[in-house]
């Protein structure tokens, strides 16, 4: 057992705990309320004009099975885990009988794409400006840029996205403000389509970057200004090592480690932001799906999405956590 392996196992334990807690909360929220999800859903479907009694009876059966209405609450709980483990979340109600997992898989790439790209840009941009601003404390341009990002920081995701929507949708309509691609686009892979998807992702990504970069910037700036006073940095400066090299390989490398930990810790919040942004811009990802599911009263889809987002974020946190010692050999693996 190498120390690294022990570290990975510990982190994996943490990952399992998150999944356990999250799924347990999701389960008990839905099962300990006075509302009968089956009748609720049936009601919602009949309101939507679905009135074929056979289909409704089928649904009632599948719902009873899905929520494991038979047996004690603990049996139902175990049953829920089994279904989750096999990826079988039951049929969707608003798009009966398509399985929930199929619908989620359709939206997942959009969310993962938007979140990954915008998080990468946010992280790199925030840390780069933060490191520079921490090292060149007197530079006016850097101060101004930092100030702009820090001023964006306290504005709630929703409000900033909303303001961007007004600016680029009503006042100066240059960018598409809704959807992930043109309505009647030909979905065969082509250069035009890629360009179109990129164009549609500018605003959602921009709102995430504007709101998110400030916190990395502040953290990095503080870290760098603390490291500057360390003996080895002073020694390097006296020894005439070029400034750029000091910043890159002496300061930034050491400051990045806590930032990576921070990245893992804030993934949940980043995911929240992505979901909200998708809702504002009608981006065809998980967030939009979640809202549609709520409005359609699609019980199994909402449940599946909640459980999946917890598992997904936990998995991403686990991956980043396990990678961070590889980035920096000095990290404590205890």
């Amino acid at each position: 057992m190498t120390p690294y392996l022990i570290f990975v196992l510990k982190r994996f334990g943490q990952f399992l705990l998150v999944v356990f807690l999250g799924v347990t909360i999701t389960f008990f929220v839905t099962h300990l309320t006075p509302i009968d999800p089956v009748e609720e859903s049936i009601g919602a479907i009949t309101q939507m004009g679905q009135s074929d009694p056979n289909a409704i009876e089928l649904m009632r059966q599948s719902l009873r099975e899905l929520y494991g209405m038979q047996g004690s609450i603990w049996q139902q709980y175990l049953h829920f885990w089994l279904r989750l483990a096999t990826g079988d979340l039951g049929p969707s109600l608003s798009a009966f009988p398509t399985p929930v997992s199929t619908i989620i898989l359709r939206s997942l790439p959009w969310t993962i794409g938007l979140m990954t790209v915008s998080t990468l840009i946010t992280f790199v941009l925030g840390n780069a400006i933060g490191a520079l601003a921490g090292y060149y404390r007197k530079d006016m341009v850097l101060k101004a840029v930092s100030l702009v990002f820090i001023a964006m920081l306290p504005i709630p995701y929703y409000i900033l996205a909303f303001v961007l929507l007004i600016v680029f949708g009503f006042i100066w309509p240059v960018l598409p403000i809704n959807g992930g691609y043109e309505m009647n686009a030909n979905l065969d892979l082509s250069f035009a389509l890629v360009l179109d998807i990129l164009k549609h992702s500018i605003l959602p990504a921009l709102s995430l970057i504007l709101v998110g970069a400030g916190s990395w910037l502040i953290g990095m700036r503080a870290l760098v200004s603390n490291i500057i006073t360390d003996d080895y940095v002073v020694f390097a400066e006296l020894g005439g090592v070029p400034k750029g090299k000091i910043l890159r390989s002496y300061i930034a490398r050491n400051a990045m480690v806590p930032q990576f930990t921070g990245l893992a810790m804030s993934l949940g919040a980043i995911f929240n932001g992505t979901v909200i942004t998708e809702i504002v811009f009608g981006y065809p990802g998980i967030g939009n799906l979640l809202i549609e599911a709520v409005h359609a009263g699609d019980y199994s889809l909402v449940l599946g999405l909640s459980a999946l987002s917890i598992v997904g974020v936990a998995a991403a946190v686990f991956i980043i956590d396990v990678l961070s010692p590889l980035i920096d050999p000095r990290i404590k693996v205890e």
Binding site: G13, Q14, L17, V18, L21, G22, I25, T26, V29, T30, T33, P34, I35, P37, R137, A151, L153, P154, I155, P156, Y157, Y158, I159, F162, V163, I166, F170, A222, S225, N226, A264, M265, L267, G268, A269, F271, N272, V275, I276, I279, L290, I291, V294, Y299, V302, L303, L305, S306, S309, I310, V313, A314, V317
Partner: protein, 285 residues
């Protein structure tokens, strides 16, 4: 306490600005108690009047005065934020102090739970809660749910301070003089942690009010109570922007930005005050 505030206001521009902006917010909240109209009354006034001398910020399509509606909404939003902050501070103080002081297995268990709560994405969970509770989703319920999701980050911070306090001689002395753990934590450690708690309170309010606004705008809270988010919700429901009634949306957005700037500036300057290293930087520069 007051000397600290006075010193901060004198030396620290950010704190002063934050304080002034917050004073504006508090002023609006106090005004709300003198509102000539009921909080939920609609169609009292001519709808869609632009801002003028009589209706300072215009009226809504539902025949409400935007200004008075704004003050009442702000009041509810602010009380919501304070409620969540208060409850979640209690949880994070207990968890942080106990984990830091007790150490060992207690610490490990508490921190494992803490880290799990930290990475769980709250937004889908909150929507799930609304979806299940629907009309039973009162503000009290939402405050409790939000508080139980929003304590983990600060508990970790408090724990790191508590760890440092544990190794200080005065703690050892208290142990040898026979104080119980509860007494040590409440009487000896708590005063050291309180300044940090104040700074985290602001951050927590930023988070919870932001969530409230998002959920309300989507219509996922109790839509009978006017809040900042609800104002935007109703404005959207009446497509205020498209029909050119911009003041209905601009007013809440502007006030939200002021409120958040105030909280943010206060929390930033308090953090700086709590960190002696950056205070030295300030003096040196």
């Amino acid at each position: 306490m007051f000397t600290i505030i006075r010193d901060l206001a004198r030396q620290n521009m950010e704190f002063l600005c934050g304080l002034l902006l917050f004073a504006v917010i508090v002023g609006l909240v106090i005004l709300s108690y003198f509102s000539p109209y009921g909080a939920t009354d609609i169609y009292l006034l001519p709808p869609d009047m632009p801002p003028d001398g009589e209706y300072w910020l215009g009226t809504t399509s539902r025949g409400q005065d935007v200004f008075w509606q704004l003050t009442i909404g702000l009041r509810n939003t602010l009380y919501f934020g304070i409620g969540v902050a208060f409850l979640s501070r209690i949880i994070s103080l207990v968890v942080g102090l106990v984990a830091g002081y007790a150490g060992g297995a207690v610490d490990r268990v508490l921190m494992a739970i803490n880290d799990s709560v930290m990475v769980i994405p709250q937004f889908p969970l909150l929507i799930l809660f609304y979806f299940v509770l629907k009309d039973n989703m009162t503000w009290v319920a939402l405050i409790v749910i939000m508080a139980s999701l929003g304590w983990s980050y600060d508990a970790r911070l408090i724990r790191s301070v508590a760890l440092g306090l544990k190794s200080r001689p005065f703690t050892t002395q208290s142990v040898y003089s026979g104080m119980t753990m509860r007494k040590i934590l409440v009487e000896e450690h708590l005063p050291y942690v309180l300044p940090i708690v104040f700074a985290t309170t602001m951050n927590n309010m930023i988070w919870s009010i932001g969530m409230e606004i998002t959920l309300s705008v989507l219509g996922f809270t109790d839509i009978e109570t006017p809040t900042m988010g609800m104002m935007i919700y109703w404005a959207n429901a009446h497509s205020a922007l498209i029909s050119g009634i911009w003041w209905w949306v601009a007013a809440p957005v502007a006030v939200i930005v002021i409120l958040f700037l105030a909280l943010f500036l206060l929390s930033m300057s308090m953090n700086e005050y709590n960190d002696p290293r950056s205070r030295l930087n300030r003096m040196g520069s």
